[in-house]
Symmetry: C2
Subunit: 157 residues, 2 copies
Amino acid sequence: MRSSYPFLRDAIELADENITQQGGGPFGAVIVKDGTVIARAVNTVTTGNDPTAHAEVNAIRAACRALDTFDLSGCTIYCSCEPCPMCLAAVYWARIDKIFYAGTRVDAQDAGFDDSFIYEELERPLSERKIPIIQQLGDEGAKPLQRWKSTENKIHY
Amino acid sequence: MRSSYPFLRDAIELADENITQQGGGPFGAVIVKDGTVIARAVNTVTTGNDPTAHAEVNAIRAACRALDTFDLSGCTIYCSCEPCPMCLAAVYWARIDKIFYAGTRVDAQDAGFDDSFIYEELERPLSERKIPIIQQLGDEGAKPLQRWKSTENKIHY
């Protein structure tokens, strides 16, 4: 058996339990560092009234609390299903090293979730997106970023 | 002056204040419904040890708490900078109607942030991604999603 299987099966079991427990969507995630489980989480979108509370995001937040850091370098995340674009980008921001997943975005779509749709949206030009996205005040908006660039003693992430 | 400008300027001002306050990255977001501000938020990644705590995600979470829902249909989000893929997908999951932003992903990149890099990564095939992403146990992973599909009395989102 591959060494990744127990953690991935744990994530799948969490997903399944979350249906039974009515905790939210059927998704689970486990974050591991040096062979030790740092965080286990399920989707709590509907029970927590938080559309960002996917299993992976919840696991990242829990792992950061556990390790007292915003940088999860050296960690691996095991996901019951392929991360949606929000969760995938969150993995990048968290500096996680590696991702294992079991179910696919197609499995998720078949169960009524928008993962595939959102992946497709992100690849469309801004002008063709379903949710209108409009830029205004570009010069004013660039200023805080320029100020940040020249600010000393800032904490980068 | 366009009606969107005051809310967008508020988001930019939040971004600028967050540099002064050392609250986190130079980003702000404001969520509005029917002309009323529901939530205002800044990036708190480094001060809250949460890599998902971008201004838009914080604003979405706050707006959901304020309205006691996970569905922000009817809301508009004003962002000091173009949302990163995590935040953009979060906007989709939250069912927000419309996005205004000021600074661009290029401005963010110039200030040292990975927004552009992550957008490029999401468009790459899984095999070419910088963070390895590996599928295993596909049949087992599909099962909770199949079970969800046939479950009655579930709360969809």
